[in-house]
């Protein structure tokens, strides 16, 4: 990525009338194909034996760690959260870490990708909330603790979606941007260090995006269960 460009959107490979094939689309499909082919190759011959391939072991460790983290954060059974949160985490992680491949610009350095991911979270929160608490129960949390909080709750919902998108975009874009700037000023050794720092930031940001998505979903589903637990405890005391 050159100095002038701040996102892979401006990297146009092919154009035909209105249709442009820019860097973001190409790299996103690259990441998707890489992950799909990789996991297909690993999982097409799974073994339940004690002996298994090291790649299967790797995938099992990843999935098991994600399940444990989700269980700890949401204090619920990972169940169906794993598919959504795990997909988000793995996609962002792989696209950030692939930044070490020369010529590859992470698709997460484009605001359109991160906005898309944030919109996924924005839609998933009510879906999970309604699924676990019913439509009324979910809508009721907007007027808690009092109906005066309704506009603030709605604004909070929107602004945290914006924050999710801009946070990921800003972090990854700043990583690639700083490397590009340093390449122009001190092209020896120093950009490598900043690139390593960028990799660390990328991994942390992937983790944080997944954790925040999980926290938002958990807060939409959890309140009900806590109230039921309280009622149960009171019932046991009396």
């Amino acid at each position: 990525m050159s100095l002038k460009e701040i996102s892979p959107d401006q990297l146009v490979y092919w154009q035909w009338g209105m249709i442009t094939l820019n860097g973001t689309i190409v790299f996103t499909w690259g990441v998707i194909l890489f992950m799909a082919l990789g996991s297909f190759l690993i999982t097409w011959r799974l073994s339940t034996d004690v002996k298994m391939s090291r790649w299967q072991n790797l995938l099992e460790v990843i999935v098991e760690t994600m399940r444990r983290e989700i269980r700890e954060i949401s204090s619920q059974d990972p169940g169906s959260y794993l598919y959504f949160i795990g997909t988000l985490f793995l996609f962002i992680l792989v696209s950030n870490v692939l930044a070490i491949v020369p010529g590859f610009v992470p698709p997460t350095a484009s605001l359109s990708t991160t906005a898309g991911l944030a919109v996924c979270v924005f839609v998933a929160v009510p879906i999970y909330g309604i699924k676990s608490r019913g439509l009324g129960g979910y809508l009721k949390q907007y007027v808690e603790p009092s109906p005066f909080m309704l506009p603030f709750n709605i604004m909070g919902e929107l602004s945290r979606t914006l924050a999710l998108a801009v946070r990921l975009f800003g972090n990854i874009m700043s990583g690639t941007k700083i490397v590009a700037i340093l390449l122009a000023i001190v092209p020896l050794v120093f950009p490598v260090l900043m690139h390593a720092l960028g990799l660390l930031t990328g991994v942390i940001q992937a983790y944080i995006f997944a954790v925040l998505a999980m926290v938002y979903i958990a807060s939409a589903t959890r309140a009900q269960e806590e109230r039921e637990e309280k009622i149960q405890e009171k019932g046991e005391e009396s």
Partner: protein, 92 residues
Amino acid sequence: MDSISLIGMASVFTAGITIAIGAIGPALGEGRAVAQALSSLAQQPDEANRITRTLFVGLAMIESTAIYAFVVSMILLFANPFWDKVVQQAGG
């Protein structure tokens, strides 16, 4: 003074000021958060996992304010809409 140099001057100056002022608040906040986390780690080493995780999430939330300032300054420097418009007008 024509509008190109005026917009250029204002953009560069504002970009520097944005990131300079925008970094102060999050820096102070992150310092406080890390200090608190370290002292609670010293008090309760058993809870290290939970404290570290919460610390990372909190740091990311605090840091995002600085990131917003950074994004704004990057837009001012590299993708300034007013600059593009003025350059287009001057060219065409």
